[in-house]
Subunit: 260 residues, 2 copies
Amino acid sequence: MGEPEGIIAEVQAIAAQAGEIALRYFGRVSAELKHDESYVTEADKQVEEFIRRQLGARFPRDGIIGEEFDRSRAGTSDWTWAIDPIDGTTNFVAGLPHWAVCIARLRDGRSELGVTNVPVLGEMYTAARGHGALLNGRALQIPDRLPPEHEQLLAVWSTAFRHITLEFPGKVRILGSTVLKLLYTARGAYIGALTPTVHVWDVASGLPVLWEAGGEARSFDGTLYEAADMDPAHGYAVPPLVLARPGLQKRVRELFTVTR
Amino acid sequence: MGEPEGIIAEVQAIAAQAGEIALRYFGRVSAELKHDESYVTEADKQVEEFIRRQLGARFPRDGIIGEEFDRSRAGTSDWTWAIDPIDGTTNFVAGLPHWAVCIARLRDGRSELGVTNVPVLGEMYTAARGHGALLNGRALQIPDRLPPEHEQLLAVWSTAFRHITLEFPGKVRILGSTVLKLLYTARGAYIGALTPTVHVWDVASGLPVLWEAGGEARSFDGTLYEAADMDPAHGYAVPPLVLARPGLQKRVRELFTVTR
């Protein structure tokens, strides 16, 4: 099936084109200041169809899963692609820049390769297990150094205020995209990030980047998260996760309490 | 002193150049993945000095205030410029895109003209009282239409979790820049936004944009906010504000409770 670097290059080209398609719709949202959900529905559909077509042609034996459940395709190889055409659709509708095109390749539920395109910011994150993580071709590694405590950033999700309380001396970020929590943690912008229950395609393209940059994903109880349950009957759900480098996992878990 | 449009064009040119200076430092942060506070201190200083020099040459009779208190200059005209060279310095240090160069002209503490440059996003917001608000030259007006309740966005500040509780069916955003709360509310991306106690230069360039787009700023008790107390002894503090269009002010105030 080719070396990871070759596959990454191919998938990156697909993600770049997919981003161009999405940007045409985003430009209309911005230009007309129309916060119309029909745009995002249409953009989502067009982008997902484009990616499915490209992957289907190039990797005909692989399975494909994504938001459009009924159109999921079982494969005959060990591999399954997970697609989120636009992660951060609320931002997309509101004209905010933090949304991303996400493509990942999984085996036994484990993300082995991920490509994430953040078109508005010109950021392309790529990684394959054992081959490192890159941002626009530059190696990513979570730095050891931490900012002063009051300047440390913790990212949480949009409705976290309904589910957790925080005891944290630093600052919170809520940008509104799941995959960006993994990517910005991998860059060292956050000391850690929390995700709620999501679908595998929301995190699959970011996980290899986080792992290769030296980060970990753990459940709120501390269990290492490594692979998704790929039984379609279970809905491809991923449990709430703490994203951080190993040395900060315990500290980040102690910053919050689940209230409901 | 020239018509507002002429002054806006001049200040916009200054803000554009100031953004270029800041971007050189930001590029280094990103390229070296160095989250070093000395970069932002140096960038802040260089950008503020550049803006002061330009404004001082062009408007020699006006006063200037900004973060570097000791270098504030009283003027002999009715006008005072308020400068925030980089609003959102934590983002700047972390390599996140939401930071802005802010320049505003005040009379009797009231922002009459504001220019805000968000260099990474290529967004230039300008407004003069009575002359409309523009984003990259395109008129801004808060739309009447609201997204469905669960998709509505409320923006709060980085440490709001220590000071308020929310009873809100929608989603929260914390991007980490004060002025962007005003600007994104003016675009209609948020149904409302909350700011904590800040300095006048943190909001001064965004207020005319918010006002001209049809928005209001009110204290948490509902008092209309119109002008800053410009007595230097009072530290140029602006009280916590609710930003929203008039018809949503009460609703947004009812979404949160101050706990301490």
